[in-house]
Symmetry: C2
Subunit: 200 residues, 2 copies
């Protein structure tokens, strides 16, 4: 029951943020949408930043679960990196309100620090894929920590760009090209990829 109320507040907050923007949303409106008093909201959350931080953490947790679910141990490292990218994008497209929220979250002070912390989970997953791919000779030997961070930076900007413009296909093409750039020279995967290059 307690859990239900807390979830109701979170769902109402997400809907208010999506409709009003983070700055425009008020605890009063969030409480009204959830059918609760302001006092009930403050029982679970100290302020709007606190609510936003919890929503943000839940979103990242779901993104991590979705990415892990798409991992295929039988696929190549390049293929798995592309699966992670697509899981990231699909998970957001399935949640229209979360799209709005993720786009605006950089304006929420409480999330700037939290956001960088959550990113570490993503770095660890991508680094794992890179180290495995290098060990199997599928990927060029590069600093895996540096490569993971640079790739995550590319993923994040790609995501923000897609959420802003809706142009997923052209953006995914750019990121997949950068993923393919990590192939070991002369590897079967690289030859295969070269045949598939789009030359419009």
């Amino acid at each position: 029951m307690v859990r239900d109320t807390r979830e109701r507040v979170l769902a109402a907050a997400l809907a208010e943020f999506a409709e009003q923007g983070y700055q425009g949303a008020s605890i009063e409106d969030i409480a009204a949408r959830a059918g609760l008093t302001k006092g009930a909201v403050y029982y679970y959350f100290s302020d709007k930043d606190d609510l936003a931080a919890d929503l943000h953490a839940e979103l990242w947790e779901r993104l991590g679960r979705d990415a892990n679910a798409r991992f295929d141990p039988a696929a190549s490292a390049l293929e798995n990196l592309k699966r992670v990218l697509r899981a990231f994008l699909a998970s957001l497209e399935d949640h229209a309100e979360a799209r709005f929220f993720l786009r605006d979250c950089w304006a929420v002070p409480a999330l700037v620090i939290a956001g960088r912390r959550e990113v570490e989970t993503g770095v660890a997953l991508v680094r794992f894929l890179l180290v495995e791919g290098m060990a199997r000779g599928e990927l060029a030997v590069l600093d895996p920590e540096a490569a993971a961070r640079v790739l995550l930076g590319a993923f994040t900007e790609a995501t923000l760009h897609i959420l802003t413009t809706g142009d997923a296909e052209a953006t995914v093409e750019v990121v997949e090209r950068m993923i393919d750039a990590l192939a070991a020279p002369g590897s079967a995967t690289r030859r295969h990829q070269s045949r598939g290059v789009v030359t419009r």
Copy 2:
């Protein structure tokens, strides 16, 4: 004279931020370091966020100038993209205090919005290089807006990683590989680049 005083305040603020961190620095200490009263500091800046925002804007302006100065109209698009990347990194390495500041600036609320706005200048420069390179047949035809944003995301994460670890060489290698991935298939630049691939 007025300009000198304002610059003195900015230099003192940068030094304090570098030594104490943004949260730990006070207007009082900044004034003392500049040899001024608190009132004199408040004559130019409304608060610490305002000071930080001005420093940040100056830093980006210098980065933009440095990147433009390295642009070589006779060089290939790939070479110019690498020059922009190196200008970005060199400009920061020349300013030890700015390095500290850029690393921590995401904790300053006033800079989160400003930071994203300044990024637009960088996007415009990189997009220009991409469009030119595509027109000359040196680069694969991709969505230039998407490619510029994804590259800037990679540059930014690379910069933060280098400022954190000091490991410039391995990180630059990753980003340059991603830049090379933008070459048009079969272009001379691409063949040249393939010979140079590091396979440690």
